[in-house]
């Protein structure tokens, strides 16, 4: 295993009048050992058990030997500079990478002790269990009702129309959208505001009663008010779901997550309880990142 010595190149030029406060004690780690992660990457009751995960795009290794546990009903945030592999790693968890031809995944990924990448595994069922919400709200150009009902329909979750109505209502309620849209379920979803659309996408994801919800920068296209609503929602959902959220905003990670994982150039550099990561990062790269020295 080769060792990679990455130092923060911009450090030298960093202007003196930086206003973000700096930790008193300097972090111990300064280099990246491939496969080694600072902090607490493992958990006792893991929902996902991910070991030595590597992801290749053609020849490029986008994820470099990452091992991580994601606990049950935990909210874990992935942070890191752009292009560091957060999305790639996230999309392994429900095999959304399958549709990219050149993408290959290596290592062992288990959901409740069953291999995710088992060739015999039914992707449809997996994705029904591991839902996903995307960066840009992407409602189907159909009615609000049909958007939420789509998943239950294709999975045959409802026998009767009334069952379906119930599922739709419940999902919209959980997503905090019911009151806003209950009178216009037949209106097309694309006419809603961005924040509403994103909440609709969350409603759509939870309508199939997944166990895990993956969110890839769910607020980056939203205004502050809508963002606040979504964050609120995540807090509520965390009671019954396991949530993995990718965010480019450290503040957001700090607000919503229990644990935070810091990615850097395909490495998982540090994982720890969120307040620990932000108050006393153990790795120098993490510290540089959260103090805004790059990214």
């Amino acid at each position: 295993m080769n060792t990679l010595n990455t130092t923060v190149t911009s450090e030298a030029e960093q202007p003196e009048e930086s206003t973000i406060p700096v930790q008193e004690e300097r972090p111990a780690e300064t280099k990246i050992d491939e496969g080694k992660t600072v902090g607490q990457p493992f958990s006792e009751d893991p929902k996902f058990k991910l070991r030595n995960v590597e992801v290749f795009y053609g020849q490029d290794r986008a994820i470099k030997n990452i091992s991580l546990d994601i606990g049950r009903n935990e909210v874990i945030a992935f942070i890191g500079p752009s292009g560091c592999g957060k999305s790639t790693f996230l999309r392994c968890l429900n095999r959304m990478n399958d549709s990219i031809d050149i993408c290959r995944v290596k290592g062992s990924l288990q959901l409740d002790d069953h291999d995710i990448y088992d060739p015999k595994r039914d992707v449809v069922e997996l994705r029904a269990r591991v839902g996903m919400v995307f960066q840009k709200p992407n409602p189907f150009p159909k009615s609000i009702y049909d958007n939420v009902a789509y998943g239950p329909r294709i999975h045959g979750l409802a026998n009767r129309k009334s069952d379906l109505d119930e599922i739709v209502e419940n999902s919209l309620r959980k997503a905090g959208l019911w009151d806003e849209v209950k009178d216009r379920l037949d209106a097309t979803a694309t006419g809603m505001s961005g924040g509403q659309q994103q909440r609709l996408c969350i409603a759509r994801a939870i309508a199939v009663s997944p166990e895990v919800v993956l969110m890839d920068e769910p607020c980056s296209a939203l205004d502050p008010i809508a963002t606040a609503k979504i964050e609120e929602l995540i807090a509520e959902l965390s009671e019954s779901y396991t949530i993995v959220i990718v965010t480019h905003s450290m503040q957001q990670a700090a607000r919503v997550s229990h644990r935070t994982a810091y990615f850097h150039l395909g490495h998982l550099v540090e994982v720890n309880e969120t307040n620990k990561v932000f108050t006393s990062p153990k790795h120098q790269l993490t510290e540089s990142y959260i103090t805004g020295r790059f990214g």
Partner: protein
């Protein structure tokens, strides 16, 4: 039953099979506590049953419809008295045509020999029988297969993946069909071209400056020995295309610039479709316009200056062709100009450049490769254009660069060569294929080149 009606019946069977399959899967699911315990949605069980029912039935129907004619013919001919049995395919087709004309009433039965009239009767009854058997067989197959499919419905059956796989194969078959036919057909033209080059040397064809392909039709006829030099055709084609481009490029380009940079949305919304309308007008209409209006006008106009202009001047055909091509140039240039990123435009404007300065000094140079690609595409269009030149250009293979003279083109000659004699046994008819192949290759090269340029240019900004 007629195949068309039978088809309807099969469709009904398919619908029934779907319904039954759907219902069965639901009834299987209910005791288990709802359809979520099925492997697939009821819809897929229904669809699977429908496929089981429909595909074999339709295959049987298609096969039957395809072969019944042949089989009936054999039966009818087989039952004729020996002296009437035709020898040779042509005779057989005649006799069959006669029999079926009698059967359909186009020929009076009294008019033909008795056995033929009898055969016509037999033909009628055989056809009726065939229809009956076909109906019975197809329906039987549909019901049986549908029933089997229905029977095998299990909650654990992954009907969805089966249906989807079938559908995928159907899509694949269509893609294969579309591609194979086209590719196969290209080969057949290549084949005739090879035969041509077995008769006429490569060298003569490409470098000969004489074109007189009308060779003798019969052994005892005196006609041209045949000269198959494509140089005059090629230069003629190029002359007309060049004239077309002289008209189309400046007009098309400037219109594109105006519409994309100056015109406001409303003006653009009106004029762009109007310009594109020029591309939608059939070429025969342009040919008509060129031959009957523009060409006489040009020769009269030239005559009023004492200049001698042919009534089929390259100018008339080329000019009208240029008008036809304007929208190709303009919409391609429009695309390319719009693809130049806004930030270049902003960059220039922010320095205090006027719009035309921005256009001329920044956008146009940046878009030039793309525009060149577009122009090449338009050239390939002009080279392959047929009707305008057939109607308005000449037939004489003149080697000239004078736009007021008449020249002929590759496409005109293809049409001329293939009227009259169409047996592919002489260099003359095969020459049409050789010309076609050359045209194909030339336009292909131009297109590949143009697409390469356009694409490369796109990449520059992506």
């Amino acid at each position: 039953m007629q195949p068309a009606n039978l088809m309807l019946l099969v469709i009904v069977c398919i619908a029934v099979a779907y319904g039954l399959g759907y219902a069965r899967s639901r009834s299987l699911a209910m005791p288990m506590g709802g359809i979520r315990h099925l492997k697939s949605l009821p819809f897929y069980y229904g669809a699977r049953a429908a496929l089981w029912c429909g595909i074999p039935a339709l295959i049987v129907l298609a096969l039957w419809a395809a072969f019944q004619g042949k089989v009936i013919q054999l039966l009818v001919i087989g039952s004729l008295p020996p002296e009437l049995v035709p020898e040779g395919e042509g005779r057989a087709s005649l006799l069959l045509s006669q029999i079926s004309n009698v059967a359909s009433g186009a020929l009076p039965p009294g008019f033909v020999e008795a056995p033929v009239a009898e055969a016509a009767e037999r033909l009628k009854s055989l056809r009726a029988q065939s229809r009956l058997y076909m109906t019975v067989l197809v329906v039987a197959v549909a019901v049986l297969a549908g029933f089997l499919g229905w029977l095998r419905i299990r909650p654990t059956l992954n009907a969805r993946s089966q249906v989807e796989t079938t559908l995928k194969w159907i899509f694949f078959a269509c893609a294969a069909l579309a591609i194979l036919t086209t590719v196969g057909i290209v080969f057949s033209v290549a084949f005739e071209t090879i035969r041509f080059f077995q008769k006429i040397s490569f060298f003569e064809f490409f470098f000969g400056t004489q074109w007189s392909p009308q060779t003798a039709l019969r052994a005892d006829q005196v006609a041209a020995e045949g000269a198959f030099g494509m140089v005059p055709l090629f230069t003629g084609t190029l002359l007309i295309s060049a004239i077309a481009m002289v008209v189309a490029v400046p007009v098309g380009l400037l219109s594109a610039i105006y519409l994309s940079e100056y015109a406001n949305k409303r003006v653009r919304g009106i004029f762009k479709p109007l310009l594109e309308m020029l591309a939608g007008i059939p070429t025969v209409v342009y040919g008509f316009f060129a031959a009957l209006t523009v060409a006489p006008f040009i020769s009269d106009f030239a005559a009023s200056f004492g200049i001698d202009a042919s009534s089929q001047s390259a100018l008339a055909a080329g000019g009208v062709m240029g008008i036809m091509i304007i929208p190709f140039v303009s919409s391609l240039s429009d695309d390319v100009i719009n693809a130049v990123p806004q930030n270049l435009r902003d960059g220039s404007l922010a320095l205090g450049a006027t719009q035309s300065e921005t256009m001329k000094k920044v956008i146009f140079p940046a878009a030039l490769p793309g525009i060149m690609g577009g122009v090449l595409l338009a050239v390939s269009r002009a080279i392959g254009e047929t009707m305008i030149v057939v109607m308005a250009a000449g037939l004489a293979a003149n080697l000239t660069a004078n736009p007021l003279e008449s020249v002929t083109t590759v496409t005109v000659q293809i049409v001329t060569l293939l009227t009259g004699d169409q047996e592919f046994d002489s260099a003359k008819t095969l020459a049409a294929f050789a010309l076609g192949a050359m045209l194909f290759v030339a336009t292909l090269l131009l297109n590949v080149l143009a697409l390469k340029i356009v694409r490369k240019y796109r990449e520059q900004y992506d």
